[in-house]
Structure formats: C-alpha cells, structure tokens
C-alpha cells in the first residue's frame, strides 16, 4: 500500500486522498494492537512497566487508536467511493487534503501527550490540554474542536459532491448518516459534575455511533462493495440498504436504553433497553443473509455466463464476508448475551463486556474497513481481477483465529467474574480481587495474551500483504496479457 505512492492509477484526487487516510489508519491499527499487548501483559504481570507506562495509559491509547484508525479508514472509504458513486471528482478536494494533514498532525500531538504527559492536575486545563478522562473520547477539548473543524471540511466535500453529481441511494444514506454521526460527537464535548448526566450524554456518542450510525455506514460500504466486487444489481442492493437502515435505526436508537440500566437513570429504561436492544441482532442477520445471498447469486450468474462478473477482488470479498458473519456474531450474539437487565446486573462492568467489545469492533468494523483497503490497492494499481496471495490467507486465518480466541478467553474470564465476584460475593474490593486471582481467571488471561500475539502476527502478514499485493497482482495480470498477445 505504501508502494502505491509510486503506482497510482486513480483518475480522481479524492481516491488518492483516500489512500493517505488508509495509510495512517493501518499505522494506528498497529499502535492499537501493541498497546493491547502491553495491557494484556499487565493483567498477568502487574509489575510490567508499573509507574512508567501504567495500565490506564496503555488502555487509553489502545481504545483511542482503535476509534481513530476506524474513523480514518471510514473517511478514507468515503473518499474512495465518492467519485465512483457520484461520477465526479470530490468538490473542494484541496481543502480536504489540507484537512487530512491538519487532522494527522493533531492526532500525533494528542498521542504524544497521552504517552509522555499521561495525566494532569485536577483542573480545567487538563481537560483542555492533556486528556478528558472519558473512555473512548479522551481527546482533550482543543483536539475535539479541531476534529469538529476537520469533519466539517470532510462533510462539505461529501455534501457538495453529492448535490453536484449522481445522487445514488447509497450516497443518500451516507450523506444522512454522516450528518448524524458528526453531530453526535458534540454530545461528548461538555463538562458536568454530575456523573450520571455525564454518562447519559457520553452514551449518546458511543452507543449512537457504534450501534446505530456506524452500523448504517457499514451497510452502505457493504452495498458499495457488492456492486463493485460482484457487479450486484444496484436496485436490489439499495432496496436491501433501506431495509437495513429501517431495522438498524428502528432497533439501535432506542436500544441506547440498555446503557441506562444502572447509571442513576429511571427504571423504565429496563423495559425500553431490553426490548429494543434485543431486536438489534435482527438487522445483522439481514445483512449477513444479504451479503452471502448476493455473493452466491452473482457467482452463479457469472458461472452460467449470464451476466456480470465473478468476484474481481477476492481479498476484499473475503473480508466483507467475514464482516457479515463477524458483525452478527460479535455485535449480535455476544451483545445479546448480556443485554437483558436480569443478566446485565451481574455482567455489567466485567470481562464479558470486553469479550463483546473485542469481537464486535473487529467483526463489525475492522473487517470491512480492511476490505476497503484492498479495494483501494486494487484501484491504485488498476488491477482488473485481484486474487488472494499466501499472505492474504495467513492474515485472514491468524487475525480471525486470534480475535475469536481472545473473545472466548475473555468470555470465560467474564463468566468466572460474574459467578464468583458478582453472584456469589456481591462485588466490592475483596470480591473483585478474589475473582481476579482464581486460576480460571488467570488461565483465561493467559490465553487472551497468547491469542493477542496470534492476532498481532496476523497483522504483520496483513501489512506485508497490503504493501506488496498490488505490485504482485499487477505483474501477474501483465504477464497473462502478454501471453495472450
């Protein structure tokens, strides 16, 4: 992918900019995994980097790098599909390029401050300059404002291009979804001394991102991917997309209630949260069926020589298929496990949540964004039909196995915590540490670290593949053409 700085057959500046977003995204993905490994080691060997690089710092960078690399890859994906969908160059692309460098400089400063300054005195200056201390959206206030400005530029690019070019169904969904996604960030940008009020609005950002607007975003990407990779029929894909929007927002918006069971908010959220969040897996089943059905159908058509073409980018298609399954399994099943209040009273705040978090973020988001990166590489080299290499298969195998392994390990750890710390002992300091020091828990943490290393090895294959597959596949295609001529 880095080599595609040289090979760049994109017709549109927008798609060249997309590649820059992908490059930063993959670097931050690596940082996320490294920080995760440090934190996983600290669970087993608490003296590791104690009072040098403590768990809270590793964990903060771990989850922040996650959110930021995904946002980068999401923005990159939009710049990638924008000219394809609208048929024109992105409007105001020069401003968009400037925004990329501003955002990247800001992210670099924020990360360096996280790593070297870590924490500050308990006053407003810390909230403005060092970190806001609110999980996932720790970025200090100055960076919040910077992010808002950059996102406004990005949204201007998208909206202006949409109004000027073709207004496809996919673009209509994206334009509306990105508006909500950007607007929701504002809910996380104020200070209150009321912790319940704090968490109420904090969830508006976190939940309405990952269980509503991000999911719709993924639906749009999958729709685009199916048309691009399989030549699926636009009318059918877009009809499915609207059905998915209906079901995702219909369940996800009020599904927010499952975060309001225990934070000081009224009891009626039990019923509302339980009902709507129990419905949240339904659209994920629909998305799963949709992707696999289209895949099979288009493949069948192509093989029968009737219409379209078979998969023209097997790595991207593989990641999109893993997305369909991973989203359903990680977000749907692992989420449903502990979404009912009767269960959640015991699981809330245990490794159960971490298990769900790992598989859901990977299954629902990381997978399809990696798929988009492969589409980017294909475009950068002008490859007509890109196929998997050995490295692609190693990356897929190791990452999927590693993340599933971490999820199962953390589920076991969570189960033990629920039974011993919560159900048996009722929570509290001693109950917590008794549960943390039982062999069941420690073994689970050991497996989590092992599976984390497997995932990281897979990541190395992924980076190597993204860097080389374009050149290899382009050369292969040239050879075939030369032989035919």
């Amino acid at each position: 992918m880095l080599a595609s700085i040289k090979s760049n057959e994109f017709k549109y500046e927008s798609q060249k900019l997309a590649m820059n977003y992908f490059r930063v995204a993959i670097v931050l993905f690596g940082a996320q995994l490294l920080m995760g490994l440090i934190a996983a080691i600290q669970f087993l060997y608490p003296s590791f980097l104690f009072e040098v690089f403590d768990f809270n710092v590793a964990r903060m960078v771990h989850i922040n790098a996650l959110v930021v690399w995904m946002l980068y890859a999401m923005i990159g994906s939009v710049y990638m599909l924008l000219p394809d969908e609208t048929g024109i160059e992105a409007v105001g692309i020069k401003l968009g390029k400037l925004a990329f460098w501003v955002l990247t400089a800001a992210v670099a400063v924020v990360v360096l401050v996280y790593i070297f300054v870590q924490v500050g005195p308990g006053n407003e200056a810390t909230i403005w300059l060092i970190n806001e201390g609110r999980e996932y959206i720790e970025a200090p206030r100055w960076a919040d404002i910077g992010i808002v400005v950059v996102v406004l530029v990005f949204y201007y690019n998208v909206f202006a291009t949409y109004t000027k070019g073709n207004r496809t169904g996919i673009m209509t969904v994206l334009v509306a979804d990105l508006f909500a996604l950007a607007g929701l960030y504002l809910c996380g940008m104020f200070f209150t001394d009321n912790i319940s009020m704090d968490q109420y609005w904090w969830w508006w950002v976190i939940h309405l991102w990952v269980e509503a607007t991000w999911e719709v975003f993924v639906g749009s990407l999958a729709a685009y991917g199916l048309i691009k990779i399989l030549g699926a029929k636009r009318e059918i894909v877009e009809m499915w997309l609207w059905i998915e929007v209906l079901m995702l927002f219909g369940s996800g918006i009020l599904g927010l209630g499952h975060h309001y069971f225990w934070i000081g908010t009224p009891e009626y959220w039990w019923e509302i949260g339980a009902l709507f969040s129990a419905l949240e897996p339904v659209p994920l089943v629909a998305m799963f069926v949709h992707v696999l059905y289209d895949w099979g159908k288009e493949q069948g058509h192509a093989e029968a020589g009737q219409q379209g073409h078979a998969v023209n980018n097997t790595p991207a298609m593989a990641w999109i298929a893993i997305n369909a399954f991973g989203n359903f399994l990680g977000a749907g099943i692992w989420g449903f496990f502990h979404t009912l209040p009767q269960v959640n009273i015991y699981t809330h705040g245990t490794q159960f949540t971490a298990a769900h978090g790992h598989l859901a973020f990977f299954g629902a988001y990381a997978t399809i964004l990696i798929g988009m990166m492969y589409l980017g590489v294909q475009g950068a080299y002008g490859i007509k039909k890109m196929t998997m290499t050995f490295k692609t298969k190693m990356a897929i195998g190791l990452i999927v196995f590693g993340v599933l392994g971490m999820t199962v390990s953390l589920t076991v750890a969570g189960y033990e915590q629920v039974l011993v710390e919560r159900a048996d002992l009722g929570g509290g300091w001693d109950a917590y540490f008794i549960a943390q020091e039982l062999p069941w828990y420690l073994q689970a943490q050991g497996w989590r670290l092992t599976m984390g290393l497997v995932t990281f090895t897979g990541f190395l294959f992924l980076v190597a593949d993204l860097l080389t597959i374009g050149k290899t596949e382009a050369a292969k295609e040239e050879e075939v053409q030369a032989a035919a001529a």
């Binding site: 308990g122 909230i127 060092i130 720790e138 169904g169 009722g426």
Partner: protein, 221 residues
C-alpha cells in the same frame, strides 16, 4: 424497480419512506424520554436533603450525611439510604463548599484517568475494582484500610491511600502514584461518597451482603 409495480415489498420508495418514518419516530421517542430522564437525574438540592426528599442524584451536601445501602422490599433490590448527619473531614460543608468540592473531585477523576482502570457506575476498564459504591466497601469500613494507613476515619484513610497508593499495597496489582495532592484527594473522596448515594437501580446487586458472604466462604479456592 422499473416498469409496472409488482408488489409494494419490492418498492425502493416504500422502504425508503418506511426507513425515514421509523428513524424519525425512534428519534422523537428518544428525545421525549431524554427530557423526562433529564428531570429525574438532575442533582437534588440541599433543601431536599434537609426535608428527607429522596432524589436519584442527591445534592453535593450529601457528603454531610451517613450513607447506607439497604434492601428495599418494594423495589426488590438495594437502594442508598441517607441517614443522620456525619462530619466529613471533621466538619459540615456548606452547600457552596460541597458543590465546589464535588466539582473539583469530578475534574480530578477525569484528569487522573481513573476510568481507564476502574469502572464508575459499571463503565470504564476492568483492571481495578468498581468504584460505584467504593465509599461503602467493607474494606474501608471494617478497619482494614484505616488500619493499614493508620487513620481514624474512612475519608482520611481514602485520602491517604489516593495520595500514596503504591505505599499501601494489598495485592500484586497495585494502584500507581498519580501525583494526587491533598486537596485533590479530599475532593475525590467527596466525589466517591456522593456517587455511593446515587440510586443505581440496585447495581451492584448484593453489595450490602458482601461482607457477610466473604466471611467463611471458600470462594472456589
């Protein structure tokens, strides 16, 4: 679909309109519920406390009262019970003082990044104990931590621990020294005491029983 419409179920227009209506309805419902919740989770006033009016989130002056966590038979779970007056760091705090202290405590909680090891109201990281009812934890109230830190009261013991956590290790996994000053520590303890008085619908469940349950159990060891 082009041409003659065969069925409404394959009409893009139908699904687009349905998506818009469902999303709109869900959004309006969420906003309506939010207005209701905002009223219920606004902080109570000092007068409420004096008159025995129960609020889900009590006034900052709740730090001047004894707080308990007891089973409520009618609601089917434990709820915080605000009792008689109790000095906090040896004095009674005025409404303004208590509000300022709580604000400083909440700022410090964010500035020291507590949430990336601990959970608060169950949200955060899972590397250290949940702090929702930390003020009521048997560990602070049964003489263990007051003994280790050599302090007479829970608030003094907590403040001392927060200032020098790695000097008082209880497990191999320790809390790091975060450079917390005396003022910040006092404010943090106020924040923790206030949080323990929040009505969390019974989370964590059976917390009031934990001292009894820890006694004599094998805990799978």
């Amino acid at each position: 679909m082009s041409g003659k419409k065969v069925s409404v179920w394959t009409s893009i227009t139908f699904w687009r309109r349905s998506a818009a209506w469902v999303t709109g309805t869900a959004t309006v419902l969420l906003m309506w519920l939010t207005f209701n919740t905002m009223g219920q989770i606004a902080m109570g006033s000092d007068e409420d406390l004096q008159n025995g009016v129960t609020k889900r989130i009590p006034a900052p002056t709740v730090i001047n009262y004894k707080i308990d966590y007891k089973m409520d038979e009618k609601r089917g779970h434990e709820v915080p019970v605000i009792g008689e007056k109790q000095p906090f760091f040896g004095k009674e705090w005025s409404a303004e003082e208590a509000a300022e202290l709580l604000r400083h405590g909440k700022l410090t909680q964010q500035a020291k990044n507590c949430m990336n090891c601990h959970t608060l109201l169950g949200n955060g990281a899972y590397y250290a104990p949940d702090l929702t009812k930390a003020w009521l934890d048997p560990k602070w109230n049964d003489g263990t931590m007051t003994g280790i830190t050599g302090k007479d009261t829970v608030e003094e013991a907590m403040a001392e621990f927060l200032m020098h956590p790695s000097q008082y290790p209880t497990h191999e996994r320790m809390m790091p020294d975060l450079g917390i000053t005396r003022e910040e520590a006092v404010a943090l303890v106020a924040f923790l005491k206030h949080m323990s008085a929040i009505d969390t619908n019974g989370f964590p469940r059976n917390f009031s029983q934990s001292a009894k349950r820890l006694e004599g159990g094998t805990h799978a060891r």
